[in-house]
Symmetry: C2
Subunit: 394 residues, 2 copies
């Protein structure tokens, strides 16, 4: 009787080309099914130490403090904000998309005085305006989103970090959609606190939030006048757990195995080669999109390689296109929201999902779905992408 | 070269008889390896709806608000505290163990005025003293730990809830070590907010925190003067996500599959039968412990069936015993901490770990390890447990 009420799990086989989760490699699925050990087992800390080193590799940092928080990417954001926001003190946010709004909301909930510099979604801040803003406001913290998942733009951070350090601020960078797919370059950029998620460029299931913290940011934590409101996300307590092996919470060996395996796959591929792969597939996708007569929302040179935001053609209902792709082809892509609702598609080519085959497939299926909604493409997107991929391979 | 640096994962095969994680059933491992879907996929919400219903079943509640927070059990505690604590207002805690101290710390970090009634670890509050405390303090929130993982005692909650409701307080109960192994009985007890974890009585890997919230507690949330400091754990936002299918964070289909499967296993076994199984195995374990000449730390009738706290015999170094069990037998048990450091063992018989075979095995191996440390048992614990199990089976 019970078997009838709750039949065996039979998830549909989706091709995940949205803003995350991305496809999970077979070796990562195998890791999930490995026998569990306790959160204080010597083997647990061996794996945690591997993860610490491998996170340094993908973040391109020499920081000693790299760990995976037991929560999703948004818990990484909350950890960054909750540990560095201080009640009544200035917390600056460069706002050019949805996740900058989320940082704002979190910082306000922590009692910080939030000051903002704003741009339309999909644009990025130039060096001059970022510097002027930071020098004028002299905040304690500067937060920006390196890879805006809502809009598809990459925000360079070097000038932001330089200006922030001039006024003795620490810099938080949201790397949720860049890590593992584009150069995050924590040390070279000067980022103090970077956080990400497991399920996009790393191609691990959701559930962990990789975080790295610079020595100067750690010093800031040590001199905080009061502990953060959050105990669960208190970075100093987490550091004591992972480095001191003192119980804090019951971290998941299962999820840690999966993340470790996903990171080892990156190490085996080589991070630079992985970035190249993402860039090539992104460029081929863009060639296909433009050949069809669609336009990219973000200017060339500012685009994420991991998440593409082609504009929805005039007169086309994006929800119908997405529904068709999901129901007829089993492909997940996403739409825009906020000011971009109905205006862009969000198509992810991240981690294991970033392959030439997926570029060709999504262009073909997208074209078919757009035609069904009355749109007439100029040329075949698939052919243009094939040419671009061929040229890149030569 | 990379393969040498990072060899394949080869976790040791542990028998997990500590305070969690417990052993994971093969069907749950299989669920983890099912193809992932997105956090807004229709299939994701089908599984979430099954989880909602099944959590109502294991919590014994008719609440509509049942969900699994994307974090470990401690994130469930923080969600309960952060959503119901109010700055400057009274938050009462009944303190008889480590996790009551943690609730205290979290409530203080939220700015609440914490008032406490204290007992030694391992004892429980009687109805009269709990009532007097609550009537005197008239707090906004009363928190207690139903199953104290640090000490091994079960705290009945009916009088606490009645007194709390008289003064219009909501009641938070920590059910981390009771859910799935002992009667939690949310509705019958009158608990307003109960939270737990996935990795103890439910025998799923760590990573999710089941929570249930009563209608009166939801009403309290709706009339909160300001949102909680935590955005990630904001229960109203989580409710909007799970019931309204509006994006909040990227919940993990993988972990949800595993929890769903663990809960279906409980449904198939039957929750009352499962409680009986835990009780029988616990009683057999206690018979064995007492036959050996050891004593239980908690008085009879107050003990958890899931987590046993036999006292460490005089002159025995508990760390050496635990090390021997781990290294020679691959068995994880835990020691005490705080005032119980060195004084008790903490031996879990929860979920898939609660079997007659494990009772006999741990008694045999514990006896051997204690002998190696110079302790001489009165009689064989294993034989006494065999008799108890035989009697229970008749």
């Amino acid at each position: 009787m019970m078997q009838e009420e709750y039949p065996p799990l039979r998830p549909p086989a989706r091709l995940l080309l949205g803003p995350g989760p991305s496809m999970v490699a077979p070796r990562v699925y195998q890791a999930l099914a490995q026998p569990i050990v306790g959160h204080l087992d010597p083997y647990f800390f061996e794996v945690a130490e591997e993860v610490r080193k491998l996170l340094g590799y993908v973040f391109s940092t020499n920081n000693a403090f790299n760990l995976a928080i037991s929560g999703t990417g948004s818990s990484g954001m909350e950890a960054a904000v909750a540990n560095f926001a201080e009640p009544g003190r200035k917390f600056a946010v460069l706002v050019n998309g949805f996740f900058c709004e989320r940082i704002t909301e979190m910082a306000r909930r922590q009692g910080a005085e939030v000051v903002r510099l704003e741009k339309p979604w999909g644009e990025v801040f130039d060096e001059q305006e970022a510097r002027e803003f930071i020098r004028r406001e002299k905040p304690r913290v500067v937060a920006y989103v390196q890879a805006e998942t809502s809009a598809g733009a990459f925000q360079p951070g070097k000038a932001i970090c330089e200006a922030a350090h001039e006024v003795d601020a620490v810099v938080i960078a949201d790397c949720v959609t860049s890590l593992g797919g584009m150069p995050v370059l924590v040390d070279e950029t000067g980022i103090d606190i970077a956080y990400s998620c497991s399920q996009k460029g790393l191609s691990c299931p959701p559930g962990l939030a990789p975080v790295t913290v610079s020595p100067r940011a750690l010093e800031r934590l040590r001199t905080r006048p009061a502990p953060p409101h959050s105990w669960y996300l208190d970075l100093q307590l987490l550091d004591t757990y992972y480095s001191g092996r003192k119980y804090h919470h019951t971290a998941s060996a299962t999820m840690l195995y999966a993340l470790r395996e996903a990171l080892v796959l990156i190490r085996e591929e080589g991070i630079e080669k992985r970035w190249d792969r993402h860039r090539r597939n992104h460029q081929a996708f863009v060639a296909g999109i433009e050949a069809m007569g669609l336009r990219m929302h973000v200017a060339e040179g500012r685009r994420l390689w991991t998440l593409n935001t082609p504009r929805v053609p005039e007169g086309v209902d994006d929800a119908k296109v997405r529904k068709r792709l999901l129901e007829e082809d089993g492909i997940e892509i996403a739409g825009g929201f906020g000011p971009l609702a109905g205006k862009v598609f969000r198509i992810g080519l991240m981690g294991a999902s970033s392959t030439p085959e997926n570029v060709l497939l999504i262009l073909e299926k997208l074209e078919r779905a757009l035609r069904a909604e009355g749109f007439r493409p100029t040329e075949s997107g698939r052919s243009a992408a094939e040419q671009a991929l061929g040229a890149a391979a030569r």
